[in-house]
Amino acid sequence: MMNGGGGQKRRNSKIIPYEYRVESDPKFFDKSWRKLHDAIREIYNHNSMSLSFEELYRTAYNLVLNKFAPELYEKFTENMKAHLEEMRTCIEAAQGGLFLEEMQRKWNDYNKALKMIRDILMYMDRTYIPTNKKAPVFDHGIELWRDTIVRSPTIQGRLSDMLVELIHIERTGDVINRGLMRTTTKMLMDLGLSVYQDDFERPFLEVSASFYSGESQQLIECCACGEYLKQAERRLSEESERVSQYLDVKTNEKITAVVVKEMLANHMQRLILMENSGLVNMLVEDRYEDLTRMYALFNHVPDGLTAIRSVMTSHIKDTGKSLVTDPERLKDPVDFVQRLLNMKDKYDNIINVSFSNDKSFLNALNFSFEHVINLNNRSPEFISLFVDDKLRKVVKEANEEDLETVLDKVMTLFRYLQEKDLFEKYYKQHLAKRLLCGKAAPEDSERSMLVKLKTECGYQFTSKLEGMITDLNTSQDTTQGFYASTSSRLLADAPTISVQILTTGSWPTQTCNTCNLPPEIVSVSEKFRAYYLGTHNGRRLTWQTNMGNADIKATFGNGNKHELNVSTYQMCVLMLFNSSNVLTYREIEQSTAIPTADLKRCLLSLALVKGRQVLRKEPMSKDIADDDSFCVNDKFTSKLFKVKINPVVTQKETDPEKLETRQRVEEDRKPQIEAAIVRIMKSRRVLDHNSIMTEVTKQLQPRFMPNPVVIKKRIESLIEREFLERDKVDRKMYRYLA
């Protein structure tokens, strides 16, 4: 605030250089330094409370102002060095465990003193030192400690040895003074990161490598794989804890690498392949905990997970191969597929629980299963039979949600098939049997499966299968229409019929064998034919008598009444005995016109199956001769009123049937290959041989793996039929002919 009162004039200030009092005393520096020196000594002796900061600061201040900073800096350095020499002598004299304690005590004292000295010399730190690029007082003091004490020949090695020795003691289970360790390593850090790294970390890592190399050698000789990995995990955990307790955080990565290398990387193959306890045993015995640990630990090892994945893949392939090539397993397709599903579940579980759902492991699993499933060329048939079994049982077991789960899992196996068109062929056959024998699952379940197949392979794959289901629905409507439109009087005494109208092409190819139906059946079936053709112009109707079934009421000689459920062929045979008591095989064959193989099978099921012998055969032998005779078994008895007589059939294909199916599949592939070739050439116009092979394979791969020889033949065939021609210049080039 300016004082406006009085007559006092405001004086103009003039800037002139500072003219401090120049000391002319030749002993000025010596006197001043003596004062500072004595004060520093008192500081060293923990008597700083008797000193006046103001006096000391002013003394140093005046020295700098009077241009004695260089001398002051030099004197300060000499003084610190001398003091540090004394300290080193004390530290060196400390024995054993006292060495670190003495080091720590001296370090604490030194830091306190250095801070006070720095404060006294603050003015020099702010003026002289930056100008002359000297180290600041405090930093300079720290450097002197490093060079005089920590790096002195008599202390450097001893210090690192002591630290490493204490860590060794802790590793072997004893308790050490962690606080002392912490302060010592912190001192090294304060001296500079390179001091910590060179004077401690490097020897520590070297000794650690040696320690863990030795320990791993011992452990691997006496421990099972799982136990060994548990020990390795414990060691890694201990080292991390040690770092957090008293080492620099950056050391963690380095010591981890050492433990990983010495305990895991160097023994990786031996651990994985260890007899009775290695990776394969863990997989077989579902040891999730051990597997989880192995995965986590080997994640640190270069190529560690690759090694695990490789062994897992090999094991799955070996196990899978045993499963799919075991002659015993092939006898039960449902069990065969169930075991594959169980195996898939098992490894899905392991990967999910123990391998963190690692994508590379899932891919390896998929790769392995694809390999395994396609080892057996009957897998498509077996998978279809498995689905058939589940769909047949869905009504009985009333578990539609479980069915959905099972079908989803089966679809996983289906995806692995390389011959999906073969599966389609078998699935069509099995679906046909379910539908025509009244064994199909509820339509929702059947369609649910078709939806899954369509999702995988497209509409073309399932269109005919869907057509089959549609046919049955249409047939039901047609039959109802037939009875609704026909006079009840005309059908009063006729058997009731239910007709399945099957669209040619949608259903599995069947040889068309028409036998001689009983007169009662012929009558009503001809009426149906007339009705059907009357409502569908241009259609042809052919009876498939090798399919279908019938319910027959029978009264036997002993008065017993039963209702028999039999096949169409069996019905034709049985009806003959309404008008004849005894018939020879030849007579039956002539009357019914049933093919020989079918007829013999039919008669065997009626005459020789225990509990189902509604006919008697003379003589009683397994084989049937032309002159063998048959008659009704008047003594037939059964606990059941309704008796079901099944034809003697095998669900699984016999070898000739299997060969026939495969040949049919191969035949069906030819037009598909040709269609693919034409599609490709139509878009490319000109293409070389190898490119066609590649493109065709790529296009057809979702359904089946085309045979290169077959592709070549198809190309030749297309050339003959003038869809393609060879280029006149380059024989390997083909042209599309519009």
Binding site: S13, I15, Y18, E19, M49, S52, E54, L56, Y57, D119
Partner: protein
Amino acid sequence: MIIQCDLTVVRDPELCKTKGGFEIQVPPSDLAEQFGKLLLEEEETDVVFSVGGETFPAHKVVLAARSPVFKAQLYGNMKEAKARRVAVEDMQPGVFRALLKFIYIYTDALPVIGDDNICDDDYDEIIRHLLVAAACR
């Protein structure tokens, strides 16, 4: 042929806009005035400087916050850290008073010293130099 046309009109949602928010007026800082008052009224002082026969009560925490030299002196490990009375030598009382004013009140410019009883031009220069030296951070 029948053509059916469905027309839907979508109106912008009518938001209730808040009326222009009033601003809160923050008064200008009077920190210097407050601290100046603290110095002048000598409230709650915890240290007394003795300079050339005069005494200057002050607050350790303010001095320490404003000057590392005072921080080292008042919170260090020497006798001033525990003393209530600190003797300052080699300094004029007027100079020290100006120094305190600078520490407590001013954040930018050097103070005008016209109203002090210092007559020589030389002392002006000495004062400026000492102020800069003592107060620098």
